[in-house]
């Protein structure tokens, strides 16, 4: 072994030493500037530098760059090095370029020719360097330039193994950039057959390539399955001496085995052929058998390599989810790992078991390990392991063990890490709801949650308990009694006050018979908490008080006294002030009948998916096993409905006290009036991550500016202008929060690619707190189109990825030019356009009472010219305009006839192009 250190470039070593000896940042910068000046003068000087010198200086520049300084010269010298015949010079040239070049650089164009030369070189070392460079940079230009060359290198019989390995991965890199570069046809089979290559390194590299190709086109590459199984079989049955170079700590080819097992997970089942299937099962069994053999080495590398393969095999088994034997065997194996002394293994076993718990074949087997898992949750030193244990308990929970698991999780919650509390609260709440057979138990669990971890109980959780209590008569009295008791604690969490307030306001009468909880006592108990609460809770309590007035007329005077108190009636908080004064007035003027109607018990909430579950799913996408067991275990029937729309609650006036849901609108009119009053300003809905929201695109039909989207985090405004067939659209992203929004990344999708062209200018990825940034889009209408582009904006807020999706206000009518014409020419054209192919008509119901003035205003914003005094019926509207597209101009006439008696409209559009008539008609229908 030659001593590698210190050989080569002495000047470089001296420079690096100098830098290391610098005592301060300033000294370092000084030394670097001196060196930069020196190099610059050498490069500029008359004396031509030899290859060695060039290499040395380029290498110094690279070092300076890697220290974090900008380098603005030397690129040409690096490019020159590429044409050197000496390996060490070429290598430095390629390295400099790979590290410094980003994919857009013009430099790439300069080096394409050099790379091409090296690719065609007879020297495999040069070919290899070129391939590695392409694989490192992987630009579109390169995909175009070398797309045909590299596949040839990959399958040619003349290519050396080392080069083949690079070629395979180089092709993979280019394929990711430009999927079309992979030739089909006979190449498919040649690429697949690389799995048979005698050189294991080639197979290792090729497997990654094939894996990517399979993901893109599973059917075409289906043939790889048989070969992969055969290869895997040869490896797992080999003894460690068989595969000398590829045996790692007595484990034959662990990495290749893992890659092959992953490749097979692209298909389910991997193969229908009994032969292949059987062989694969044998492989998997062999892997299990080997796991049981005594270790051949005490080194952790040995067990890690062996287990890497084992875990991948288990992943495959879980993925296939069809062989009960193997699933149970996997579970037993993982069970052993749960008490292994290696933390890594315990962690991975918990993780893997989480998936097993969701399979019906192994769910029961996983449950056997409940005790150990509970211990892990309590005892593990690494929080991420404890977290895995919590996840697994959640996944293995069903009707039979729910009480115990929930109990244990509640107990652990008292000491749990802050970082996992919120999620645990959600999980406990979901399990309690899902597996409750007795809803008094459910109520107890949630109140315990609030007691133990009140700060981590989100709105969704306490809203949900109220929904359930309101919908289940049998639990109402119990709930009232329990919250009443809970409120007696000297200190209780504000969330408890909220739940208590709401429940007593609805069901306090059910416990009023007991003198210990008489109306007066209930009221005074609640009111004793009032002054310690936030305005939001106080507002809720005021509503409770007026409800109590209805339930218990005898405390009316006392309650009125509270409403009248300066701190309420004259509260600085406008919401409290309003509630106090309106409730006070209501209690004075309304008869007991009216009061009873207005303050009636809340109607049942519509049954729907637990909103908590939705929150949890969004918190941890991918980590929460889907509820596969839902089909098996009998459901406690409280969450049967499909997904709720928890989004879009910005403007629907939440009609009940808490905004818990939109109630059925069946209430009496007096009820509605009050419900509006009670509409709660305080219940700011929490933004659930990755919401997909639909904005109301329709309103932008008639205007070009406005707020396109808004939630608690972000506001997106739009301003656009159009001329002929072109448009400019400015989007304004505003950050409404106190923290930066990061990785803002908008994307556009639309289907009519050839009909509409939209370009988006790049924008800053970071939106500082409170800031607004602008992004410009340009649009060109090529032909009449129907599908407005969808924009999805992804970003990170507070480390949580978010994604919002909306339609861009880019509809065909934006490209209208209004056209003036008189009655005569209008009707002449109208007649000319009378053919079947040109007309579109719709009759639709008016949205409310027909308001001609409002209709007129809307039409004026639509883009066509409103023509007055043309139609014999003065109530009718006629309009004319030209749609500008790149292909043609489409003349367009429109007539809208209101029928006041029937509350209907008839809309007719005629134009020289059928599809345009249709689209204009569709856009306008139902808008008035």
């Amino acid at each position: 072994m030659p001593a590698v250190r210190g050989d080569g470039m002495r000047g470089l070593a001296v420079f690096i030493s100098d830098i290391r000896n610098c005592k301060s940042k300033e000294a370092e910068i000084k030394r670097i500037n001196k060196e930069l000046a020196n190099i610059r003068s050498k490069f500029k000087g008359d004396k031509t530098l030899d290859g060695y010198q060039k290499k040395k200086y380029v290498c110094k520049l690279l070092f300076i760059f890697l220290l974090g300084h900008d380098i603005d010269f030397g690129h040409m010298e690096a490019v020159n090095l590429l044409s050197s015949n000496k390996y060490s010079e070429k290598q430095i040239g390629y390295l400099f370029i790979s590290v410094l070049v980003n994919t857009n650089s013009d430099l790439i164009k300069l080096i394409i020719q050099s790379i091409k030369n090296d690719l065609q070189s007879r020297n495999p070392i040069h070919v290899n360097l070129a391939l590695q460079c392409i694989a490192n940079i992987g630009s579109k230009d390169m995909a175009e330039a070398f797309g045909t060359e590299i596949p040839k290198l990959l399958v040619s019989g003349d290519t050396m193994d080392v080069v083949k390995q690079s070629a395979a991965l180089c092709l993979l890199r280019l394929f990711r950039k430009s999927p079309e570069i992979i030739p089909g046809g006979e190449w498919t089979s040649r690429i697949i057959h690389l799995l048979n290559d005698p050189h294991m390194g080639v197979v290792t590299a090729a497997t990654s390539l094939i894996d990517a190709l399979v993901k893109k086109n599973p059917d075409e590459y289906k043939g790889c399955v048989t070969l992969a199984v055969a290869r895997l079989s040869r490896i797992v049955t080999a003894s460690y001496t068989d595969l000398q170079d590829y045996t790692y700590y007595f484990v034959p080819a662990p990495w290749l085995s893992v890659k092959l097992l992953r490749l097979l997970q692209n298909y389910n089942p991997p193969s229908e052929e009994p032969g292949v299937k059987g062989r694969l099962t044998e492989c998997l069994e062999t892997i299990f058998n080997k796991a049981q053999e005594p270790p051949k080495s005490k080194k952790v590398q040995h067990s890690n390599a062996k287990n890497a393969v084992l875990f991948e095999a288990i992943s495959l088994i879980i993925h296939n989810d069809s062989e009960a034997n193997l699933l149970v065997r996997a579970c037993n194996q993982l069970g052993q790992f749960l008490s292994n002394r290696e933390t890594n293994l315990r962690y991975l076993a918990l993780e893997s078991m989480c998936h097993l718990a969701t399979s019906e074949f192994s769910h029961e087997a996983v449950k056997k390990h409940q005790e150990v898992v509970i211990l892990s949750m309590k005892m593990e030193k690494d929080v991420s392991v404890r977290q895995q244990a919590v996840d697994l308990l959640y996944a293995m929970c069903d009707k039979t063990n729910a009480e115990e698991i929930v109990q244990e999780m509640l107990a652990y919650l008292e000491t749990a890490d802050y970082s996992i509390r919120e999620e645990m609260v959600l999980k406990v709440a979901i399990l309690a709801e899902k597996y409750a057979t007795d809803f008094t138990w459910y109520v107890d669990v949630i109140l315990n949650l609030i007691r133990i971890a009140g700060d981590y109980v989100s709105e969704e959780v306490w809203y949900r308990v109220i929904q359930i209590v309101i919908n289940r008569e049998e639990v109402q009295a119990y709930a009232a009694k329990t919250v009443f008791e809970a409120l007696q604690a000297p200190t209780c969490h504000e969330n408890m006050v909220k739940v208590g307030g709401y429940i007593l306001g609805e069901f306090g009468n059910l416990i009023a018979g007991d003198t210990k909880s008489s109306p007066q006592v209930q009221f005074e108990l609640l009111h004793s908490k009032y002054h310690l609460c936030s305005a939001a809770t106080r507002a809720l309590l005021l509503s409770t008080y007026i409800k109590l007035v209805n339930l218990f007329p005898e405390i009316k005077n006392r309650v009125q006294e509270v409403f009248r108190a300066d701190s309420n009636l004259r509260s600085a908080d406008v919401e409290l002030q309003q509630r106090a004064s309106e409730y006070l007035q209501l209690s004075i003027v309304a008869s007991s009948d009216v009061l009873a109607t207005v303050l009636e018990e809340m109607p049942a909430f519509p049954e729907r998916e637990s909103s908590i579950l939705a929150v949890l799913k969004k918190k941890k996408p991918g980590r929460i096993p889907d509820d596969v067991r839902e089909s098996k275990s009998p459901q406690p029937s409280i969450i049967p409905a499909p997904t709720m729309n928890s989004t879009n609650n910005t403007n629907n006036s939440s009609a009940d006290l808490l905004g818990l849901s939109t109630p059925p609108g069946s209430n009496s009119t007096t009820g509605n009036g009050l419900l509006d009053v009670l509409g709660d300003l305080y219940t700011t809905p929490k933004i659930s991550p990755t919401t997909v929201q639909q904005n109301n695109i329709k309103k932008f039909l008639f205007k070009n500016n406005g707020v396109l989207f808004e939630n608690d985090l972000i506001q997106i405004g739009v301003k656009s202008e159009f001329r002929q067939n072109l448009g400019r659209i400015g989007l304004f992203y505003g950050n409404k929060t106190q923290f930066p929004i990061q990785n803002v990344h908008p994307e556009l999708h639309w289907t009519d690619l050839h009909k509409l062209n939209v370009q988006m200018k790049p924008m800053e990825p970071v939106l500082e707190a409170g800031a607004q940034i602008q992004q410009m889009l340009t649009a060109e209408c090529i032909e009449d189109f129907t599908d407005a582009p969808t924009m999805s904006v992804s970003f990170i807020y507070n480390n949580v990825p978010q994604k919002i999706t909306m339609k861009l206000p880019l509809t065909l009518n934006k490209f209208f030019e209004p056209t003036e014409m008189n009655g005569e020419s209008f009707f002449a054209r109208w007649k000319n356009l009378g053919g079947e192919q040109q007309r579109a008509q719709k009759i639709f119901k008016a949205q409310g009472a027909i308001d001609l003035a409002a209709t007129r205003t809307k039409l004026a914003g639509f883009g066509m010219q409103l023509l007055d005094g043309i139609d014999p019926n003065p109530d009718n509207f006629v309009c004319a305009g030209i749609v500008h597209t790149r292909m043609q101009q489409v003349g367009c006439l429109m007539r809208l006839e209101p029928n006041k008696q029937a509350q209907m409209f008839r809309l007719t559009v005629r134009s020289s192009k059928e599809s345009a008539s249709q689209e204009i008609c569709n856009l306008l229908a139902d808008q008035f």
Binding site: R5, Q91, W255, R262, D382, N743, E747, H749, V758
Partner: protein, 165 residues
């Protein structure tokens, strides 16, 4: 920043950093305890600021961990598989559902090659021969994938290259 994405609808969660799909290794980092980077190899196109941020974040995440903890840590949407050798942290960033042990041993395999190649490797070797470390990496990992795992084969190739002018 992409200007148009034609057909990504129905794709899963958005990646935090932008998206060539199916890539396995996102980056490899070698850092010392003080946070000095001894190698950074990127398999996705990050801009310079983003790279710097990732380097700092990885350092913050990894150095606080105890020896008794796992060698895996969730990081943004990804996962860092890391191992500490004396004062150096070797970190590989992969997808959350990638095979942890496989990359943990890939690190060790890499370290053993460095050790053999530099004859008892130490941090200074990586500093003074940074340009050779890249060669070692490219022999063992390419395009974000494991390229060659045989130490014998890698070393043979490296020594052959070393003997060239």
């Amino acid at each position: 920043m992409t200007t148009k994405a034609w057909k990504t609808e129905g794709s899963p969660m958005p990646d935090i950093v932008i998206i060539p799909s199916f890539i396995t290794i996102r980056f490899i980092l070698i850092q010392n305890r003080a946070g000095k980077t001894r190698l950074a190899k990127w398999y996705m196109n990050f801009d310079d600021d983003e790279k710097q941020k990732l380097i700092e974040e990885v350092h913050a995440v990894v150095t606080v961990r105890d020896a008794k903890h796992t060698n895996f840590v969730e990081f943004r949407n990804f996962k860092i598989v890391y191992r500490r050798y004396a004062g150096l942290y070797f970190c590989i960033c992969v997808d959350v559902n990638d095979n942890n042990l496989c990359y943990l041993e890939a690190i060790h395999n890499f370290v053993e090659v460095l050790n053999e190649y530099f004859h008892n490797v130490c941090e200074l070797d990586l500093v003074f021969n940074f340009f050779k470390v890249y060669t070692v990496v490219d022999e063992m990992f390419l395009a974000g994938e494991i390229r060659e795992t045989s130490q014998t084969k890698v070393l043979k190739q490296l020594l052959m290259l070393n003997s060239l002018e």
